[in-house]
């Protein structure tokens, strides 16, 4: 790969303000929630107090990914990473690191997980640990609100290259040769999609960026936009040039106000410098982008539903054909790609399709961003080359399962995906392998579950989500998911019937086959996959009215064993007075009155309460 990756220049090599130190303060959603904005004020104050403000530049960056340890702060040179930084630590960090030139060790993150290594080697080596950042290449490195920062990492150079050196057909060739596939989940070859739109008849064509990220627990697109909005704009500009569109729409959730603000700012800055508008960079190519807000409908992530929503209608999918590449937005040929797909485009143009296609597996090229959450040590954002195994992501990069618990299952693809077990952990991350293992890539949500998780309950949770988000257009999805949810709720409430498993399987198969769009077709997946891999748990719930993990409260029975010394602690906390007993004599729980809240178990010092 040689020197081809020049986009990844370390921060010192870039023409910035001449300062001795850079303080990068993460302003991602989690860190902001942890008051990183108050830290900013405090840093400025402390720098002034030590009279070293001229030596230091503060950069507010997008999400660095290490959300579990936020607020995160990095001081360069040295790539020293500080985590869990409180307002009171700022004084010590500035005094130690900048005045006394010794990092304030108490808050330095030492673990050799992804992020530390990422900073130490970033820029010199392309593989920082097992991560590789292409889509998120600038996230956490540049100030997303400054176009000059983006320009200093070869921003808009790919656009200039395309406008001067390539014909639209050559651009499409590049994308086709790169092997890039849609990162929204389905994995349709991006180059082919572009070609279909370019070949479609019509004067007016549109380009859409799908930023309606709705999977619970997924925030890849949000972080990409908040951390590096210009990459996405540049990607769309190149796409517009390739297919012959003059106008682009960026459809984003209204629930992401910071991302919207940064996009607006980026669009204005790009217009000022003539990267957007008429005759871009002196060429005869004109293009502009309009932001359109979603309004909280998960189904609008589906391409045809999204188009309906931009048209100002209820976001309901429509049948295809006609495919949107032939007849899409306002009945014109339309090219829709997901945020992460767009962010990959400038790199492919700059560093070449050939280089890009060397990364990944035979059928899936490049990298994929995942939002890893659940029972895992390091929750956050991870970008890995295709072909990395799930085990590497969960155990090497994300630090494994906390509290010495055992890994139980992994859900990829959000509420539309399936769960994978221990046996599948050596599956490589690519579209085909994940599908073969019984799940699918999805947009990148990854939920890790340990042995305290009840799979029936998880399936119910996901189905509750999809059922709530079903647009109601077609009966199998609207009614079918509702019936399935009723059955699952019955099972978790301890009222399951023997025939329920069969009913779930029959309904699930029917919904998958008969629904119009991806939402309905994939809605039964969490149920069907847990049924095939954890059938025994369903049987326990139904036949023995037992939830082995203790998650399904309705099925628990609390009782007092002979360890009880009769101290009366449980009697005092029981909110429903279900525990009776005389002092210094073993107590008893009246299971008729007990509401299974578990308070007695929490206060008992003698392990005298059993829960089965």
């Amino acid at each position: 790969m040689g020197d081809s990756v020049t986009t990844n220049q370390p921060i010192e090599k870039r023409p910035r303000k001449q300062v001795e130190y850079n303080i990068i303060l993460c302003s991602g959603p989690s860190c902001l929630h942890n008051k990183s904005s108050e830290l900013y004020t405090e840093i400025v104050k402390q720098l002034e107090a030590f009279n070293c403000q001229s030596k230091v530049e503060i950069i507010l960056s997008g999400c660095l990914g290490m959300c579990a340890r936020g607020p995160i702060m990095v001081i360069n040179p040295g790539y020293i990473l500080y985590g869990d930084v409180g307002v009171n630590d700022v004084h010590d960090i500035i005094k130690g690191h900048i005045v006394d030139k010794t990092p304030f060790s108490q808050k330095v993150i030492h673990e050799d997980h992804l992020f530390n290594r990422f900073y130490r080697v970033f820029g010199d080596v392309k593989f920082f640990g097992k991560q590789m950042r292409i889509a998120l290449r600038n996230c956490g490195i540049i100030d997303p609100e400054k176009i000059d920062d983006y320009l200093s990492v070869r921003g808009y150079e790919a656009l200039a290259k395309v406008l001067t050196d390539y014909s639209p057909a050559e651009v499409i060739h590049q994308i086709q040769d790169s092997g890039l596939r849609g990162r929204g989940g389905a994995g349709f070859p991006t180059g082919l999609k572009w070609k279909l739109t370019a070949d479609a008849e019509g004067e007016v064509k549109y380009v859409i960026c799908n930023a309606d990220e709705g999977d619970p627990g997924a925030f890849m697109d949000r972080s990409a936009i908040e951390g590096d909005p210009h990459s996405i704009i540049e990607g769309m500009l190149i796409g517009g040039y390739a297919v012959g569109a003059k106008k682009g729409f960026l459809y984003i959730r209204a629930e992401y106000p910071l991302a919207i603000k940064r996009l607006e700012k980026a669009l204005t800055a790009a217009r000022e410098q003539n990267f957007l508008g008429d005759n871009i960079l002196g060429s005869n190519y004109s293009f502009d982008i309009e932001i359109r807000l979603g309004a909280g409908a998960f189904v609008c992530g589906e391409e045809t539903a999204l188009i309906q929503s931009i048209e100002g209608e209820r976001g309901m999918p429509r049948p295809r054909p006609p495919y949107p590449s032939v007849r899409g937005l306002f009945d014109k040929p339309t090219l829709t790609n997901n945020v992460e797909t767009w962010a990959n485009i400038p790199v492919i143009i700059l560093d070449g399709a050939k280089w890009f296609s060397t990364i990944g597996t035979k059928s899936s090229k490049g990298t994929k961003v995942f939002a890893v959450a659940g029972n895992v040590e390091n929750t956050g954002l991870v970008e890995v080359p295709m072909g990395t195994t799930l085990r590497e992501i969960i155990f090497d990069i994300c630090g494994g399962i906390p509290g010495n618990r055992k890994f139980k299952a992994l859900q990829t693809g959000g509420p539309s995906g399936g769960c994978l077990t221990e046996d599948s952990l050596d599956t490589q991350v690519d579209y085909e392998s994940l599908a073969k293992a019984g799940s699918f890539m999805g947009s990148g949500g990854m939920i890790v579950m340990d042995d305290t998780t009840c799979m029936v309950n998880v399936a119910r949770y996901f189905l509750e989500f999809t059922q709530n988000e079903s647009c109601g257009k077609c009966t199998p999805c609207r009614e079918g998911t509702k019936r399935m949810l009723e059955i699952l709720t019955r099972i978790t409430d301890g009222r399951g019937e023997v025939k329920d498993i069969e009913k779930l399987e029959r309904l699930g198969a029917m919904i998958s086959k008969a629904s119009l769009c991806g939402l309905g077709r994939s809605a039964p997946n969490p149920v069907l996959s847990t049924l095939s891999k954890f059938r025994n748990e369903y049987e326990d719930h139904i036949l023995h009215k037992k939830c082995t993990t203790g998650s399904c409260q309705a099925m628990l029975t609390y009782s007092i064993n002979d360890q009880c010394i009769g101290c009366g602690a449980c009697i005092r906390v029981c909110p429903v007075n279900a525990i009776k007993g005389i002092k210094r004599n073993p107590h008893t729980i009246d299971s008729e009155l007990c509401i299974k809240c578990g308070e007695c178990m929490k206060v008992c010092k003698f392990r005298a309460i059993d829960r089965v």
């Binding site: 209204a254 629930e255 359109r292 807000l293 979603g294 309004a295 909280g296 409908a297 929503s309 931009i310 048209e311 100002g312 209608e313 209820r314 976001g315 306002f330 647009c471 906390v573 909110p575 429903v576 007075n577 509401i595 809240c597 578990g598 308070e599 929490k602």
Partner: protein, 163 residues
């Protein structure tokens, strides 16, 4: 003198005029509803009707769109959403009495919002905080071990904070 309501309507009208100049003006409907909700806090029926006249879109279609998307509120919502847990533990510990006092104090029923748009009163299923019973969730925060008196004190404090 112009009332606050007129002012809001003028702003909305202005916004609609701007949108009408765009190509495919009807497609701006969701953006206009966002603007209306930003101004009014929710989408009152008469405002939706005004949008129907202003944009020349059937009111039925506007209602259809507004009710489709979760983000739009068709009922007014207060600054604080009060979700009182009425799970068994909380109920046994007197949540029912608290609910009565809150109803009386706020002069609204469950599901309604006070006239000053400060509080929306809601019932909740078990919040899983039985040890703190009875509990009240105010937006995302949980307050526990409440009595009717301490609940009213809390509401008074929230009222003060809002000013």
């Amino acid at each position: 003198m112009k009332t606050k309501q007129d002012e809001k309507m003028n702003l909305l009208e202005e916004y609609m005029q701007e949108m009408k100049k765009q190509p495919y003006a009807e497609s701006q409907l969701i953006g206009i509803l966002h603007k209306a909700q930003e101004l009014y806090g929710y989408l009152p029926e008469d405002v939706m009707e005004a949008i129907a006249y202003g944009m020349n879109i059937p009111a039925a279609r506007i209602w259809g769109v507004a009710s489709f998307y979760h983000y739009f509120n068709l009922e007014p919502v207060g600054k604080y959403t009060l979700s009182l847990c009425l799970g068994t533990a909380c109920y046994v510990k007197g949540a029912g009495k608290i609910l009565d006092r809150m109803r009386e104090y706020l002069n609204v029923d469950v599901g309604q919002t006070t006239e000053d748009r400060l509080f929306t009163l809601q019932e909740a299923r078990c919040l899983g905080a039985c040890g703190l019973a009875p509990v009240l969730m105010v937006n995302d925060r949980i307050y526990g071990k409440l009595t009717p008196d301490s609940t009213i004190e809390l509401l008074d404090k929230l009222k003060k904070d809002a000013k």
